[in-house]
């Protein structure tokens, strides 16, 4: 029995972390977030490591790894607040195309980083404001809100009935929707009788991709929150007030201990959820929901507390800690807020209608 990451998975984490430390420091993140540069260079670098093709089978030009490997990478990306379309292009899109067995010709270009596929799943999870997607005669009309990846070449659009369609971004009116987290982009997509290719009318295909995406987002929060704890502890050890490091005050120590106590079980939960997606199908759905919701809660409290430990500096842009705070926030809101996902967890167990 061995509960944990394999040697290969640890090596994968090391190589991604090393690449990010060398090539995507906070200064680079700031440039992407301010619009001074795009995330294309980062994505190109990650492509050389095989990240976009991680979940794509080898005979389609990918690396052919599994959900737990994607969890490992997401953990690193969250820890470094890396700007990238990982969630949509490397997780959701390959999962949908492989599960549906449709347009597998796109997988090679995805793995090679030549194309990006964004995702508009909001409608199938619960439409907000005036989002509304209609399908008629192979054409889409209406609009999606907060779709992932403003810079995508194609979008996978899910309808209320969990059917998934593929559209070309160039056929649609795509407008960037700025959010607090500028390390991932979201957009509004207007469809004006746009040609749409049916990828899947099987709700299970949508659900499989959603579950995987939720676990991966939870892993991203795990990495981001762990980074914030590490920063808070390090800061408390050097910041002096009343002639002593603030780390000697129990008030501060207990904040750090509580963050650790809350986050540490999340690591095991995220690992197991990643494992279950590929190996324990009867538990995977419930795990995906609970992991998404639980990490959202812990991510919120850790990102708040870690900021507080930094005192006034935590509140400033100087330190940049807010990028991690906002990263946790994004992972909480997108693809189902905790209340909604927990209700889904209850339904899976037959505890809610």
């Amino acid at each position: 029995m061995r509960f944990g990451l394999s040697e290969e998975q640890t090596l994968l984490a090391d190589s991604v972390t090393r690449f990010l430390a060398d090539n995507v420091p906070l200064d680079e993140v700031r440039k992407v977030a301010s619009g001074e540069s795009s995330d294309a260079a980062v994505w190109q670098g990650l492509t050389e490591l095989g990240v976009p093709g991680l979940l794509i089978p080898e005979d389609h030009g990918g690396v052919g790894l599994g959900s737990l490997d994607a969890v490992v990478v997401a953990d690193c990306l969250g820890a470094n607040v890396t700007p990238s379309p990982f969630l949509s292009s490397a997780v959701i899109a390959p999962t949908v195309l492989v599960a549906a067995g449709q347009r597998e010709d796109l997988l090679g270009s995805l793995a090679g980083g030549e194309i990006r596929i964004g995702t508009a799943f909001g409608e199938a999870i619960g439409a907000r404001v005036d989002a509304d997607v209609k399908v008629s005669g192979g054409k889409l009309s209406g609009k999606s809100l907060f779709a992932l990846d403003t810079h995508a070449d194609h979008f996978l659009v899910a309808t209320k009935g969990k059917h998934v369609y593929l559209v070309n971004a160039s056929d649609c009116e795509v407008t960037d929707l700025p959010t607090v987290d500028r390390t991932r982009t979201t957009c509004e997509i207007k469809y004006n009788n746009v040609a749409a290719e049916l990828i899947s009318d099987n709700p299970d295909v949508f659900t499989e991709a959603l579950d995987r995406a939720r676990v991966v987002m939870a892993a991203d929060t795990l990495g981001a929150a762990q980074h914030m704890i590490d920063e808070a502890v390090a800061y408390a050890k050097v910041r002096e007030q009343f002639n002593r490091p603030i780390a000697t005050f129990q008030a501060v120590k207990h904040m750090c201990a509580q963050m650790t106590a809350d986050l540490e079980p999340c690591r095991s939960m995220v690992w197991y959820a990643g494992h279950a997606l590929d190996n324990v199908p009867e538990e995977a759905r419930l795990l995906a929901c609970h992991t998404k919701a639980h990490l959202a809660e812990v991510g919120r409290s850790v990102s708040k507390t870690a900021t507080e430990v930094h005192g006034g500096m935590g509140f400033t842009d100087l330190l940049g800690l807010h990028y991690w705070f906002k990263r946790c926030g994004f992972n909480r809101q997108m693809l189902g807020v905790p209340e909604l996902v927990r209700e889904e967890a209850a339904r899976i167990q037959g505890l809610a209608a």
Binding site: G4, H254, S268, H275, N279
Partner: protein, 394 residues
């Protein structure tokens, strides 16, 4: 990720299941020291399902330590709700201590009768003035000829009124630094000069006692380890106690009882499970309980695999597990509204009154076994490398 224990262990699991099937009518023996309890203990030892690693010469089963087999036994017994072996602080704490640090005579004299329920023990550690700061304890033992003479008092002593013996910490070297002046003594509870007063807790049970010592004389050789080494002797097994206070699998079993309760209890004719507010709270707790379960698997794995370390995962279990369990019990009470207040002989009592009892009992565990504030000190100092508070000069 390899979650199977392997074919050898799965066949061991089958053996345990066969045993359980054969004894499926076994009732939980009532009361400490009952004949039924002793007889069931004997059956379990012979089968190797309790006292598994204790050497045969001391009345155990004599198997090599194997964490996986112990876990399989625990899992299967819990699933089948089969009563386990005798517990108590003599078995869980004193026997491991004696095996590690006792003399041959002490092992000979104490382990077998303790294991078989003939000798019941209580633990004399905490004092009115020495709680979180246990090492500041002041109950003194002074050597007078061949005997220690003990004066002072102990508190939170569970089962003192039932125990034949006590293992306790006393100050024997008053001039030494506080951690080096303590010794670990064994004494009979019927020794003249011992007075036991029951201490009723908020559950209205006398789970604990206060124990007072007035010139209590104890033979000189009833010491474990050397003079002044008592702190090290006690700490050899204290961590073990902490881990056992909040078993995540017990929390998940309890959660299933809570779900059953919410399916049967109603508010205005509507089942509570159909009320979205309570259901939301239930799901929140379920998510946390699941996280603790995988944390526990991570801890087990780190013990089985030498190259794996999970110190933080271990350090947080008492803090998180006890808080979680307290909140779980609280939800049951809240879901029942005024019915949840029922106590004692109230005919509307649910689950034999266990929800209110456990709600309070786990508050006791949040405080006991090293308060959760002390746990946070441990996590931040030993786990995160944060400095201790500066000492205040006296």
């Amino acid at each position: 990720m390899e979650l199977s224990f392997g074919p050898e262990y799965e066949s061991f699991r089958d053996e345990v299941r066969d045993f359980i099937t054969k004894h499926k009518d076994q009732q939980a023996p009532s009361g400490a020291g009952s004949d039924a309890g002793k007889s069931w203990q004997k059956t379990l030892i012979e089968a190797g399902y309790t006292a598994r690693t204790i050497p045969k010469e001391y009345g155990g089963f004599g198997a090599e330590p194997d964490m996986v087999k112990s876990r399989i036994i625990n899992e299967e017994f819990a699933t089948a709700r089969m009563p386990g072996g005798l517990g108590g602080q003599g078995i869980s704490m004193l026997i491991p201590t004696l095996l590690e640090l006792g003399t041959d005579e002490q092992k000979e004299q104490f382990i077998k009768p303790t294991l078989h329920g003939e000798m019941v023990w209580c633990q004399g550690y905490s004092e009115p003035g020495a709680g979180s700061d246990l090492a500041s304890l002041r109950t003194s033992a002074v050597l007078d000829g061949d005997e220690w003479v003990i004066n002072g008092s102990k508190i939170w002593t569970s089962t003192a009124h039932l125990a034949h013996w006590m293992f306790c910490l006393v100050r024997t070297e008053p001039d030494a630094p506080k951690h080096n002046g303590i010794s670990f003594l064994l004494l009979r509870m019927d020794t003249p000069g011992i007075e036991i007063r029951p201490l009723v807790d908020m559950t209205m049970n006398a789970n604990f006692n206060e124990v007072f010592f007035t010139d209590v004389r104890v033979p000189k050789d009833q010491i474990v380890g050397r003079r002044g080494q008592g702190w090290q002797v006690a700490n050899a097994i204290l961590g073990h106690e902490r881990d056992s206070l909040a078993d995540p699998n017990a929390s998940l079993t309890r959660l299933n009882s809570l779900i059953d309760l919410m399916k049967t209890e109603t508010l205005g004719g509507e089942r509570l499970i159909d009320n979205p507010l309570y259901r939301e709270r239930l799901m929140k707790i379920q998510g946390r309980a699941m996280a603790m379960r995988y944390n526990d698997m991570h801890v087990l794995s780190s013990r089985l695999n030498k190259d794996q370390e999970a110190p933080l995962a271990r350090m947080i279990t008492k803090l998180q597990g006890t808080e979680l369990r307290h909140e779980l019990e609280a939800l049951a009470i809240d879901a029942m509204g005024e019915v949840g207040l029922s106590f004692g002989s109230n005919p509307y009592l649910r689950g034999g009154g266990s929800w209110q009892y456990q709600f309070m009992y786990f508050l006791g565990l949040i405080i006991g076994g090293g308060t959760n504030q002390i746990q946070k000190n441990i996590i931040s100092e030993r786990g995160l490398g944060m400095p201790k508070e500066p000492k205040i000069e006296k």
